[in-house]
């Protein structure tokens, strides 16, 4: 498995590609999405993870997409938690997918570092 950040997206678009584009930030990097994308879709069009497990650090990319499994909770740069499958992506949104990114950005090494 290549270790580069963008080996590929997890999702691919099959339809509805004529929607208005918007921009948001994954781990500080600006990326594009479409109006009407959920945050989950928007992130998985760029990469294969939305978060890392706070137990093993293993990547996760959601599972049920209907708000039942709670596997796609993400953190925003300002520390809010959002469930990616039921949250629309919005212009300028800033989300984090890496535990390390959470630590650096929130400046809370103890709280998040211990969970690892």
């Amino acid at each position: 498995m290549p270790s580069t950040r963008i080996a590929a997206s997890q999702f691919i678009r099959l339809a509805e590609t004529r929607r208005e584009p918007l921009h948001f930030f994954i781990d500080g990097q600006q990326v594009a999405a479409l109006q009407g994308d959920t945050l989950l879709t928007a992130v998985l069009m760029q990469q294969r993870r939305v978060r890392e497990s706070e137990f093993s650090g293993a990547p996760r990319a959601g599972f049920c997409l209907i708000g039942a499994c709670q596997d796609c909770w993400m953190r925003t740069e300002d520390g809010k938690r959002v469930r990616a499958c039921s949250t629309p992506v919005t212009e300028g949104m800033r989300v984090l997918t890496r535990l390390a990114a959470v630590v650096t950005s929130a400046g809370a090494a103890n709280e998040n570092g211990d969970a690892r």
């Binding site: 498995m1 270790s3 080996a7 590929a8 997890q10 999702f11 691919i12 678009r13 099959l14 339809a15 509805e16 590609t17 004529r18 929607r19 208005e20 479409l34 109006q35 009407g36 994308d37 959920t38 879709t41 069009m45 294969r48 993870r49 497990s53 137990f55 093993s56 293993a58 990547p59 996760r60 990319a61 959601g62 599972f63 049920c64 997409l65 209907i66 708000g67 039942a68 499994c69 709670q70 596997d71 909770w73 938690r81 039921s86 629309p88």
Partner: protein, 477 residues
């Protein structure tokens, strides 16, 4: 509406909408609480309202487009006549009150009568590697396509069992996705044996056969009676390993970057449980269900249950059960049933529901989840996704004699206690406990529900006094 009469419906899927329609037709104005942003439930889920999505209902819902259209337009017409609260989670329920969360704010909703139409989730059983990015439920694979126009990957394997397996495969191939294999854990012989019961609803049966036939003529590989060995990959799915269930069959590896896997559907019974409804073990659904009479009354006075949340029966049954529950509620209020076109009477609804129940028995026979699957789970396989509790931890606890009942196993290992509240791991924990103890599924206990049924924020603003009213834009369709 007088102060002492507060009618609430939870859920705006097929059951909730038809219940609302029936009540409104009789002059009653219910509150309709729905977790989704738009009505339709899961099966008739609509893409986001403001995104500029363009696909027709025919493209989105296929054969079911007329039903989806009818349900959506019924709800749209009902909006002025009810108090609709979308994007609202009902997270607790006790005598006479629901607790709801909307836009980060708590709102207590008292009720005199409550119809719960909470729907279903995929019935999930683990496979080694199932926490890797790229593994989704079959329902999730469908939602990605229906609500977002996406496929879950470039090379997709669809696996598990149930009618959804073939339907999702059909929808994916039709939309241009690459489905490299459909792997059904049920043997074909089981499906043949169920044919007489399935034939009770010839139209639905024929649709199922059509999907399979269509897939075959389009060259999609279908394997039946398979065992899923594991999903492999480092930071995401790279392959799926499977073998024929027959003893001694070799393992085959299929390269793929996404897997959709689940084993039928499972009712969302948490609110009924918190409300105090009596449960019974249902052999057809292989799970505990809240008791309902033919009129959809639960064991709790003033509380009615409709749709898949009270036992999996599908969308058509949900519409009927929603209507029947509303009629029972009207009876209990002493209000006459509405009459007229599109308003079937109670007796004919119950007859239709009986016919569907016989069909459902056929479905559950044809697509039963694999028997004795837990014995094949390796100790290091994750059972609880939320807190990464593995099968070995559960086994040690059971074999050590510390737990022979599911709630005890939960207390000691935290399985079923994470963010999903057992929705993803409960079936697996029960199956493993039953196999380890040699007891039938109904003899190892029922996983008790706890509020909140889904995560809620604990923040001061949640209980702020200036509670936001339902925003006007929620009603603008």
């Amino acid at each position: 509406m007088s102060d002492e009469r507060r009618i609430v419906i939870v859920g705006a899927g097929p059951a909730g909408v038809r219940a609302a329609e029936t009540l409104v037709a009789a002059g009653v104005k219910p509150i309709v609480i729905d977790e989704n942003a738009r009505w339709g439930g899961q099966i008739y889920r609509q893409p986001p309202a403001n995104g500029g999505f363009e696909r027709s209902k025919k493209t989105l819902y296929g054969f079911e487009a007329p039903k989806a259209e009818a349900l959506h337009s019924t709800m749209a017409a009902l909006l002025p006549h009810l108090d609709y609260r979308p994007d609202t989670l009902a997270w607790a329920c006790e005598a006479g009150r629901l607790d709801t969360l909307h836009a980060g704010r708590e709102l207590c909703v008292p009720f005199s009568h409550l119809i719960i139409a909470s729907g279903a989730t995929d019935r999930v059983l683990p496979v080694p590697g199932w926490t890797l990015p790229g593994v989704y439920t079959l329902g999730a694979a469908q939602v990605a396509l229906k609500a977002q126009g996406c496929a879950i990957g470039r090379r997709v394997v669809l696996a598990g069992t149930g009618p959804l397996l073939y339907l999702v495969a059909y929808q994916y191939v039709k939309a241009g996705a690459q489905v490299v294999a459909v792997l059904d854990t049920s043997p074909f012989s089981q499906q043949i044996a169920a044919a007489p019961k399935l034939a009770r609803l010839p139209g639905t049966f024929a649709k199922g056969l059509y999907y399979v036939g269509w897939l075959k003529t389009h060259g999609v590989r279908i394997e039946r009676d398979v065992t899923l060995v594991g999903i492999r990959g480092v930071d995401g799915v790279q392959a799926l390993e499977w073998r024929a269930s027959r003893e001694g069959s070799p393992t085959e590896t299929i390269a793929c970057d996404a897997v959709g896997v689940s084993f039928g559907l499972k009712p969302e019974t948490q609110l009924a449980d918190l409300a105090g409804c009596r449960f019974r073990f249902d052999a057809t659904n292989r799970c505990w269900l809240p008791e309902v009479d033919p009129a959809r009354r639960s064991s709790v006075r003033g509380l009615y249950l409709a749709g898949d949340g009270a036992g999996i029966a599908g969308a058509d049954a949900a519409e009927l059960a929603g209507r029947r529950a509303a009629l029972a509620l009207l009876d209990d209020l002493g209000i006459a049933h509405p009459r007229g076109a599109g308003m079937p009477d109670a007796a004919s609804i119950e007859r239709s529901l009986k016919r569907i129940a016989a069909f459902r028995e056929g479905i559950e026979t044809a697509f039963a989840p694999p028997a004795n699957c837990a014995s094949q789970w390796p100790d290091d396989m994750t059972v609880c996704r939320c807190e990464e509790i593995d099968a070995g931890t559960l086994r040690r606890c059971i074999r050590g004699g510390e737990a022979n009942e599911i709630n005890r196993l939960k207390a000691l290992t935290r399985v079923g206690m994470g963010r999903c509240q057992g929705r993803m791991c409960g079936e697996a924990a029960l199956t493993l406990l039953a196999e380890e103890t040699g007891k039938p599924l109904d003899a190892v206990g029922r996983l008790r529900s706890q509020p909140p049924v889904k995560p809620i924020p604990l923040a001061p603003e949640m209980y702020a006094d200036d509670l936001a009213e339902i925003p006007a834009e929620a009603r603008d369709e």
